[in-house]
């Protein structure tokens, strides 16, 4: 197995999926290098380098630089999907979601339903999200909660390079709109990535760390923090199951409930603010369906209910951290 960075795994998957299926097209702002470039040294492949070389290999018909209009990008992706292509659109910062909300929420997510099941829209929207890189309030948000709440969308949040590959392959081959969320702070994360054709089904969580005392549920970058906390706690004899959700819609309820039924304690880690979010959703799932297993009230480790701060120290304080997660675990254990 090759060791790749998460962003390399994404690029490699785009290559192989475009090779595998000629209907796969990629579109987004600057993914070639800006409108009018012919590839070559100028084709930088997007500001994140997740499309470098695609233009050279597949040409301008399949790798399309778009104007700076998220609404147009998603509109085009929706249309491409409806007419037989498999578009992979990139939203450079997930924060720009607001601009294309109608195209995602009212159009793409509803095609199958509103056309009586006669149409499908196999579109993937890659969005780069998350705080921690000091990119201020409009470039650091984690909107997975909003997206997860929309019926008709599948929402994917990989936390490792291998998962990025397996889940992106599945997303591109899926017949429904999929939002694929890539955390910018994970782009340089290295890990072994299986070679060849590799897919991971949606709705199946991963066990990132195993323990008997507390269940920690997380997704995306938070899995890394939760695993770090779990490793520290294991030195104190405290065992944590870390459930990496992989996809928030569909949600692997069985994995969460199985684990809580075993440990009796739940800590949910979520990068987004606490109200009406992923953490509250999972806490409500567990209190509804595994109440009798709980030995302590569930804990939520989330960012505060405020925009993401720009100042480095404040941003650090804003984000959940391994220390905060470990504290929450201790609180569930101290419950009398």
């Amino acid at each position: 197995m090759a060791e790749l960075m998460l962003r390399e795994a994404i690029l490699q998957t785009l290559f192989s999926e475009m090779e595998r299926d000629e209907n796969v097209v990629v579109l987004g702002e600057d993914i070639v290098g800006g409108m009018g470039t012919d590839g070559g040294p100028e084709a930088i492949g997007g500001i994140w380098g997740t499309s470098t070389g695609l233009y050279d290999k597949f040409g301008g018909d399949r790798v399309i630089d778009t104007p700076i209009s998220e609404s147009a990008i998603i509109g085009a992706a929706g249309g491409l999907g409806l007419t037989g292509k498999r578009p992979v659109a990139e939203i450079m910062f997930a924060d720009f979601l607001g601009v294309c909300m109608d195209q995602i929420w009212n159009q793409m997510a509803k095609f199958r339903y509103m056309f009586g099941g006669k149409t499908e829209c196999p579109a993937v929207v890659r969005m780069i999200y998350g705080a921690g890189l000091n990119a201020a309030a409009q470039h650091s948000q984690a909107p997975h909660g909003i997206l997860t709440s929309m019926p008709g969308l599948k929402v994917v949040m990989p936390s490792t390079p291998a998962d990025a590959k397996g889940l992106l392959s599945t997303a591109i081959r899926d017949q429904d709109p999929v939002i694929f969320l890539e955390h910018k702070a994970l782009y340089a994360e290295k890990g072994e990535v299986p070679e060849g054709d590799y897919t991971i089904p949606f709705g199946h969580a991963r066990l990132a760390h195993a323990g008997e005392d507390v269940t920690i549920v997380a997704a995306g970058l938070m899995v890394k923090f939760a695993t770090k906390a779990a490793k520290t706690l294991s030195e104190q004899g405290i065992g944590c199951d870390v459930i990496d959700l992989r996809t928030t819609s569909p949600l692997d309820e069985e994995a969460i409930l199985d684990s809580v039924e075993n440990t009796g304690r739940l800590v949910v880690v979520d990068e987004s603010p606490p109200r009406c979010g992923l953490a509250t959703d999972i806490v409500s799932l567990v209190t509804n369906k595994a109440y009798a297993s709980l030995k302590a009230p569930p804990e939520m480790v989330t960012s505060p209910h405020t925009p993401v701060p720009f100042a480095r120290e404040l941003e650090k304080a804003y984000l959940p951290s391994p220390d905060k997660i470990a504290d929450a675990v201790q609180r569930t254990l101290a419950w009398k």
């Binding site: 291998a162 397996g166 299986p194 590799y198 991971i200 089904p201 709705g203 199946h204 969580a205 991963r206 066990l207 760390h209 195993a210 323990g211 008997e212 005392d213 779990a230 706690l233 294991s234 004899g237 405290i238 065992g239 944590c240 199951d241 459930i243 692997d252 069985e254 994995a255 199985d258 684990s259 075993n262 440990t263 009230p297 254990l333 101290a334 419950w335 009398k336």
Partner: protein
């Protein structure tokens, strides 16, 4: 000798004669603040924390941990740091047990107490609760939390609230009132082999890793062929198929030796004493509870209560006891105490061990009152909040093991009570009815153990007959 105070063995309840210092929390020479725990003192019934009533310094420990002393005996001396050692010593030497207490037990119902010499035969008047409605006037606390704090006598000013803006919630008070949690940690597990080609749920992978099962090639029954925990369980070696003989030979069967904890020791001591000094005799009978079961169903609906069968038994026992004065007794050496009203003990298997709180004046209560009282006592027993007053005054205890599948058993009398009822399970028995036909009826097995020093066979039998008629015709309850 100002600024020197004696710390004496407190008296909790009229029956308390002596107590044992189980632990000095404050060490010699150490200072303490008002409200801090000074020592833990055990009686033969409860273990209690003794709280300081003022700031001070413990200058001398007179009674070391583990030692038993009578009520009023000098346990330690409090004094300011500037008081010379020899003055403290002189005070201790010349002390005569007549001092008033300097501390209160945290869980005791009787806050005020007096040394042995001044103990009156009547129960001491309980002091007004230290924590009252006005204690939290300026505190950010929810109304329900305030009520609970007063009920449980929790000093809410010491709680940091978890609610919005630090508001103290009901849950915070409840937490503060409970002992420290002790968690048995299972610990971290070796990560299951993370072979991504194996399509299994997280728990299935973990179970497989724990049991050394290779999931390769296993067909799952979950969505899209995912291996679920049930699939792994199915792969575990069947216990009945194991080679039993070799397993038995190779299995180490060393006992785990555990010292009895304090409460278990007290239970052991008291029951040994009871069984070896009280002449028990037993009366057994089966009660037809067919009518009672139906009566309970309707009664609970009418009264809007959730009274248990045990609550109805308590009620019947209470009524029968006041009709049989000669059974409604306590035995104190060569004196018999006859009671006008019925106080019925209820044996509870609390987390800490067997405990028998008493429902008072049962004959005057209706069934919903009894249900409320027992629920309250069980709650207190489980949270370790029972005070001495909750445990005293009973004349008969009901011990019910029916719900555990026991058919019948005999119980040991809980002194100084005169008798105890052992309630077994309900069984369906073919019974001959008045018209000669046969019918399956629900029968409850009851065994009464009586203290023969005070209760004669005929008296016990008459009591049982009354109880039986009440249970079989529950309309007599009202």
């Amino acid at each position: 000798m100002k600024n020197i105070k004696a710390f004496t063995m407190p008296k909790w309840g009229i029956e308390m004669q002596e107590g044992t210092i189980s632990e000095w929390v404050v060490k010699e020479g150490q200072s303490f603040k008002k409200g801090e725990i000074i020592a833990l003192i055990e009686t033969d019934k409860i273990s209690n924390e003794v709280e300081a009533e003022f700031d001070g310094v413990l200058r001398k420990i007179v009674t070391p941990s583990g030692q038993t002393e009578p009520v009023g005996a000098l346990l330690g001396v409090f004094g300011d740091t500037d008081v010379p050692d020899d003055e403290i010593e002189t005070f201790a030497q010349s002390f005569e047990a007549a001092d008033t207490g300097t501390a209160v037990g945290r869980n005791s119902d009787t806050k005020a107490y007096a040394p042995a010499e001044t103990a009156s035969p009547q129960a001491p008047e309980p002091a007004p609760p230290a924590i009252s409605d006005t204690s939290f006037d300026n505190l950010n606390i929810s109304p329900k939390a305030r009520e609970l704090a007063i009920e449980l006598q929790v000093d809410a000013t010491q709680i940091s609230g978890s609610g919005r803006n630090g508001r103290i919630t009901y849950q915070d008070v409840h937490q503060a009132s409970r002992p420290e949690a002790k968690v048995d940690l299972g610990g971290a597990l070796p990560m299951p082999v993370d072979d991504e080609s194996i399509f299994a749920s997280p728990l299935a992978k973990r179970l497989a890793a724990m049991n050394g099962i290779d999931l390769k090639g296993v067909a799952g029954t979950g969505a899209r062929g995912r291996i679920r925990k049930e699939d792994v369980f199915a792969l575990l070696p069947d216990a009945s198929a194991r080679p039993q003989a070799s397993l038995a030979q190779n299995t180490d069967n060393k006992p785990q030796i555990v010292e009895m904890d304090k409460i278990r020791k007290v239970i052991a001591k008291r029951l040994t004493e009871a069984k070896s000094t009280i002449p028990h005799f037993y009366i057994r009978s089966d009660f037809d509870v067919e009518n009672l079961l139906e009566f309970r169903r309707i009664g609970n609906k009418v009264l809007n209560t959730k009274a248990s069968l045990n609550d109805y038994l308590i009620k019947a026992v209470g009524r029968a006891l006041v009709e049989h004065r000669d059974v409604n007794v306590q035995v104190h050496d060569d004196k018999i105490h006859y009671y006008p009203h019925a106080n019925v003990g209820v044996a509870i298997a609390a987390k800490s061990g067997l405990i028998t709180p008493v429902v008072k004046n049962v004959d005057l209560m209706d069934i919903s009152d009894i249900s409320r009282a027992t629920t309250q006592l069980i709650k207190k027993a489980n949270s370790g909040k029972l005070g001495l007053a909750d445990l005293e005054g009973g004349t008969l205890t009901i011990s019910n093991l029916g719900m555990m599948g026991v058919d019948q058993f005999d119980a040991i009398i809980n002194p100084p009570q005169g008798s105890i009822l052992a309630i077994g399970g309900i069984s369906r028995v073919m019974t001959e009815m008045e018209d000669g036909s046969g019918e399956f009826r629900s029968k409850l097995s009851v065994a009464m153990s009586c203290d023969h020093r005070a209760i004669d066979g005929a008296a016990g039998a008459k009591f049982m007959a009354t109880l039986k008629s009440m249970i079989e015709e529950p309309e007599l309850f009202f």
